[in-house]
Amino acid sequence: MTFDNITNGHDCDCLGKTIVPKPEEVFLRKLRKDVLADKDFETHWDRGIGVESEGCDDICNYKALSINKSSADIEKLIYEHYKTTFTINPKKGGHCLKFRFKENAGTVIHAPIENADSHYNFFKSDLFNFDYIEPVDVIKFA
């Protein structure tokens, strides 16, 4: 796996502590609509957000994608987090994708945030596209 998109243009070590997700692990990613679209897996950096950042924490965060690692006992908690987004801004949290990663999709690192200990940052490999994920379900909160 290569990560030129992640490592180019700075000296930060974004990938050093990341790991390859296991094929059986299930993750969740919020969607814009009820179907998966290219923009749903664009990082902030891909979109031009935060590209003027100088600190390594910011750069690595903007180059990563927010996902949540799910399991039977915490899945509802993660949905609650997305639902909170939905109650504040219904346009921003109506759906989420449940999926698994396929080989060479990229690497992940545990990056807990307040009220979401299951939060991970996902760094896409240079090869990444939707062929590298296996959709399980689309959950609707509306």
């Binding site: 919020k30 923009k39 902030h44 979109r47 031009g48 957000i49 935060g50 590209v51 003027e52 927010s66 987090h81 997305y82 909170t84 987004t85 939905f86 109650t87 504040i88 801004n89 219904p90 346009k91 921003k92 949290g93 945030i113 307040e114 009220n115 979401a116």
Partner: protein, 424 residues
């Protein structure tokens, strides 16, 4: 892209809506979805993420400038974000660049927010982690305080009572053995702030665990409870057998238990009894703070400081202060012998505080059973005549003992109240 017609919106000052300190994200989901902060003028700002525009490289957010009531109603989950947005008249649509810099701001009505972006009815404040510290600030607001000034005597009373209140809470922690000291810090404007730093050391030499004891959180919850919820919970303290306890009390109880669990300290027999007893003990000290509210300033806001960032705890006004004093009296008399004079009697008093407008104040009076000890009852002088240049003001200004006719209310031989008959 947001379907907003900004041509119909009135541009607003960027200074007013920009967060300059105390920034805190309440909910994060790809973006800070809901956040708080304070502008350079000290106003509280509640913000939310609306939309991003990839073509224009802009991010749209809503910033609302909240009154203190709106702020506490929201963070205490009494009002939803939707209610706040509907009610507040100071809300703005904010346009930011992808670098986070604010580009433009426009005054906004709730109806201007496209329906698909309007918060839902259940958009209550998420639970969020508070930043606790031992740096406390008591912000006086309204009247004289808005001129960055305060009456020296009132400031002195407040800081003494709050210092004693803080120190007392730490000293009374059974088996934790702390020696606290509250240090006064320089006053600061906005409107007039009394600042205190609480420090403590362990009584018995080296302490292995005190660093792990979440004392800041306990004191924070304690101040919050006594300044917001104890009034409505007063029956819980009058009747010790009361089975029902409030959510707010349970939050404080949890913080109290945490001191012992996390500090690995020998636990008291009953956490509930220990906490109730301490709350009852602390009531008179906090009452002294409430007695200062209303004359030369309208409110006191309690907060914790972390460098320049402020973590707001609560705010008390004249209504809460009066309700608090009534609650304290009800709690104090519930377990004690009360007696009230049927007729006016002669008493020798020395008035040390008197509001000539309300005719209310406080006086010293010797206790009946022990003349070497004194009570500090509240006093109220009857009538409508001016009380300037009377024996009452003479007592106040010349520190003079005077004889008055009054009906006294006593609790366990201590004077709590004197209804004084006006005499020329």
């Amino acid at each position: 892209m947001v379907s907003l017609d900004i041509n119909n919106l009135i541009p607003s000052s960027l200074e007013l809506i920009s967060i300059s300190s105390s920034y805190k994200v309440l909910h994060y989901d790809d973006f800070p979805i809901l956040f708080l902060g304070v502008n350079k003028f000290g106003n509280k700002i509640l913000g939310s993420h609306l939309e991003e525009d990839d073509e224009e490289k802009t991010i749209w957010t809503i910033h609302s400038i909240l009154s203190n009531k709106e702020y506490y109603d929201f963070v205490n989950k009494k009002k939803s974000y939707k209610e706040i947005l509907k009610e507040t008249t100071t809300k703005y649509l904010v346009e930011k660049g992808f670098n986070g810099k604010i580009l433009n701001a426009y005054s906004l009505d709730f109806e201007n927010i496209p329906e698909e972006y309007q918060p839902l009815d259940n958009s209550f404040c998420p639970n969020f982690k508070k930043a606790f510290s031992f740096s406390y600030s008591l912000g006086l607001k309204g009247k004289v305080a808005d001129l960055n000034r305060a009456i020296a005597e009132e400031v002195s009373n407040i800081q003494t009572a709050f210092s004693n209140f803080l120190e007392g809470r730490l000293k009374s922690l059974k088996n934790i053995n702390l020696q606290p000291a509250a240090f006064l810090q320089p006053y600061s404007p906005g409107s007039f702030k009394i600042n205190l730093e609480l420090e403590f050391k362990h009584k018995k030499g080296q302490d292995l665990f005190s660093a792990q004891i979440p004392i800041e959180e306990y004191v924070h919850e304690y101040v919050k409870y006594i300044s917001t919820s104890i009034v409505k919970d007063k029956d819980q303290f009058i009747n010790d057998e009361a089975a029902e306890t409030s959510v707010e009390y349970n939050n404080l109880l949890a913080a109290f238990k945490n001191l012992y669990v996390k500090g690995n300290v020998k636990q008291p027999e009953s956490f509930d009894k220990e906490l109730r007893d301490d709350l009852k003990k602390s009531l008179p000290l906090f009452e002294e703070i409430t007695e200062q509210v209303g004359k030369n300033f309208d409110t006191i806001e309690f907060s914790n400081y972390h460098g320049q960032d402020e973590e707001f705890i609560s705010i008390i006004d004249i209504n809460y202060s009066e309700a608090f004093q009534i609650a304290v009296e009800a709690i104090e008399v519930s377990k004690k012998a009360i007696s009230v004079d049927d007729n006016f009697q002669s008493y020798e008093i020395y008035i040390y505080h008197l509001n000539a407008d309300t005719r209310q104040g406080n006086a010293f009076i010797r206790n009946l059973n022990d003349q070497t000890e004194m009570s500090k009852p509240k006093i109220k002088i009857s009538g409508n005549e001016h009380i300037e240049q009377t024996k009452y003001t003479e007592s106040l200004h010349l520190n003079k003992w005077i004889t008055v006719k009054a009906k006294a209310k006593r609790v366990d031989n201590k004077f709590k109240h004197l209804d004084i008959e006006y005499e020329e």
